[in-house]
């Protein structure tokens, strides 16, 4: 637990330090400090994960030494330690990109990204519904401030994003209040022993689900996401799509797999799974038709979250631990792949001086590394072996294919795969059009392009550790 607390507190204190130092630090030094803090947090998260892999049990920490029921509890299990590691890793990768690429970021990026890291770490460790609300708000406010970093044009999308995010939090808070009024407890572990499937619990859970689905941009509440994510600076888009939307998803998972009684979870499961299937197809089609590179990538987030939602829905319907593994493998594989897609898209936009996909003609020649990164990360989204995306999809498909009555679900997954292949290959095909090359405006920024490739290589490397990851996650299933 100590390691996990270090992993949580280092970025938090780093954020406070950078905020207090303010203009005294220039962007470069602030960036170095933030990256070192993320790296420290990464090391601590690694030790926490090792400890968890060895013990394979849940540790509960009662803050302030109050007895259970009164204390706000933190909880560490293999899943939360893996997510801690993933968050720190993403922050290091994107931090290094932001510091060393030519596109760069403003000084204010660094304290905000550290705050984001801290609030996500707190979210993974919380086991208290109200504490989760606070981390959700922290996450939302930081994300909005980061979108606004893009300058004047992004203020309007940022303001809309903030209002939506506040509404979503209020829905969640109302649900929390009802749950507390009914059971007199906020602790996830205590609630899981108490909840019954009565009307008030149903209403509370549905209100909270609506709020969380809005926050996580799950279909049909996803319409805000492309505007917010496509307007943010490149590094911020990568963080938002790769990490921020996963926070509410985690709370949704906690809510239905632990707090809700099993019979209610089995009722909501098919609804979520069908919504996920629609998200896959609808998000994919929107991505396919989008004329802009970044909007395409943003819509692909909507589509990919459909897989996660499907895995969650089927996990609840069948109470099958294997789906739990699939869900979190999707989250991690998507986070890494999406980081590369946004970074590569941002780099290509800057080099070729165009926001349109049609402007990528001849990109395989003019910006080979960035285009390669885009295609490689796209391969993981499609689920080509041996990438992390393939690993997740395989775990999801196995139980679907083994029983003939589950084949409609498998058909949905395969349809989603087809649509993802369509929008990725559309970009790749245009980039091979060497007859009408769109010449670059500036000399390509080699360092930036290679750094954009890094997360994509990691997602393909995920397949190498696949067995270990699956065992770790299977051990922590509820």
């Amino acid at each position: 637990m100590t390691y996990a607390l270090v992993s949580l507190s280092v970025p938090l204190f780093c954020a406070l330090l950078l905020t207090l130092a303010g203009p005294k630090l220039d962007s470069r030094h602030a960036g170095q400090i933030a990256i070192v803090c993320s790296a420290l947090s990464l090391v601590a998260a690694w030790f926490a994960l090792m400890q968890m892999a060895e013990l394979n049990q849940t540790i509960l920490l009662e803050l302030g030494g109050w007895e259970s029921g009164l204390a706000i509890r933190l909880r560490l299990n293999p899943l939360s330690s893996l997510l801690l590691l993933f968050t720190a890793f993403m922050h290091v990768l994107i931090g290094v990109y932001a510091a060393f690429s030519r596109q760069g970021v403003s000084r204010d990026f660094w304290p905000l990204s550290s705050f984001l890291h801290g609030s996500l770490a707190a979210l993974w460790l919380s086991a208290d519904l109200f504490n989760l609300y606070i981390t959700l708000e922290l996450l939302g406010l930081t994300a909005v401030a980061m979108v606004a970093l893009a300058g004047k044009k992004a203020y309007k999308p940022a303001a809309n994003y903030l209002i939506l995010s506040l509404v979503a939090s209020l829905f969640y808070l109302l649900g929390v209040a009802l749950i507390y009024g009914r059971y007199g407890s906020l602790d996830v572990v205590l609630l899981s022993l108490q909840t019954q499937s009565d009307l008030l619990t149903r209403i509370a859970l549905l209100i909270m689900t609506a709020g969380l689905m809005l926050k996580a941009a799950l279909w049909p509440l996803h319409l805000w996401l492309p505007a917010a994510h496509a307007n943010a600076p490149t590094a911020v888009s990568a963080l938002l799509s790769g990490l921020v939307v996963k926070g509410p998803l985690f709370i949704l998972f906690l809510l239905w797999s632990e707090v809700a009684p099993v019979d209610l979870a089995q009722q909501i499961g098919p609804v979520l799974a069908i919504a996920g299937m629609i998200a896959l197809v609808a998000g994919g089609l929107s991505a396919m038709r989008s004329p802009y590179i970044k909007t395409l990538v943003a819509y692909s987030t909507v589509a990919q979250l459909g897989y996660a939602m499907m895995a969650l829905g089927l996990l609840l319907t069948w109470q099958l631990p294997q789906m739990h593994v699939a869900l979190w493998l999707f989250v991690i594989a998507h986070g890494l792949a999406k980081a590369t897609l946004f970074l590569a898209a941002g780099e290509m936009q800057a080099t070729l001086g165009t926001k349109r996909i049609s402007g990528l003609r001849g990109a395989t020649q003019t910006v080979p590394v960035a285009m390669f990164a885009f295609a490689v990360a796209g391969g993981s989204l499609i689920g080509l072996p041996p990438s992390g995306g393939f690993l997740a999809k395989w775990v999801l498909l196995q139980p679907l294919l083994s029983e003939p009555q589950n084949w409609p679900w498998a058909f949905g997954v395969l349809l989603g795969t087809l649509v993802s292949a369509a929008y990725i290959f559309r970009v790749v095909a245009i980039s091979f059009d060497r007859a009408r090359i769109n010449p670059p405006d500036i000399r390509p920024d080699r360092v930036g392009h290679w750094l954009a490739l890094l997360p994509a290589l990691m997602v393909w490397g995920m397949a190498l550790t696949g067995d270990w990851l699956i065992q770790l996650l299977a051990g922590s299933s509820v």
Binding site: K156, L166, A177, Y180
Partner: protein, 108 residues
């Protein structure tokens, strides 16, 4: 009907009315006010629920206080963003107007 029930129903009514207002308006400031009203409805429900036992439940009061702090800071950030967006929009509009009208040499 007990006072607790009355306040819970009033809170829920405020929440729903504000939600309706939020969905029906496009003006950012009005939408922000609607969000704040939704918050007020939620807090009213929480305070009412606190009175379900005697003496009233202090945990819910603490939650409301925390929620208020969050609501105030979020509102401040939203106001700043909305006004900045309006100023940016305004200056852009007047620039475009200046570009289009060649007879006017005065540009803001």
């Amino acid at each position: 009907m007990s006072a607790m029930q009355l306040y819970t129903i009033v809170g829920a009514a405020i929440f729903l009315l504000a939600l309706h207002g939020l969905l029906m308006t496009t003006d950012s400031i009005r939408r922000l006010i609607a969000v704040n009203l939704m918050g007020a409805g939620t807090f009213l429900i929480m305070i009412a629920l606190a009175a379900r036992i005697s003496p009233p439940d202090p945990v819910l009061h603490a939650l409301v206080v925390t929620g208020l702090v969050v609501a105030i800071s979020a509102t401040a950030l939203a106001l700043r963003l909305i006004t900045s967006a309006a100023i940016a929009q305004h200056s852009q509009d007047s620039e475009n107007k200046g570009d289009g009208d060649l007879s006017e040499d005065v540009k803001p």
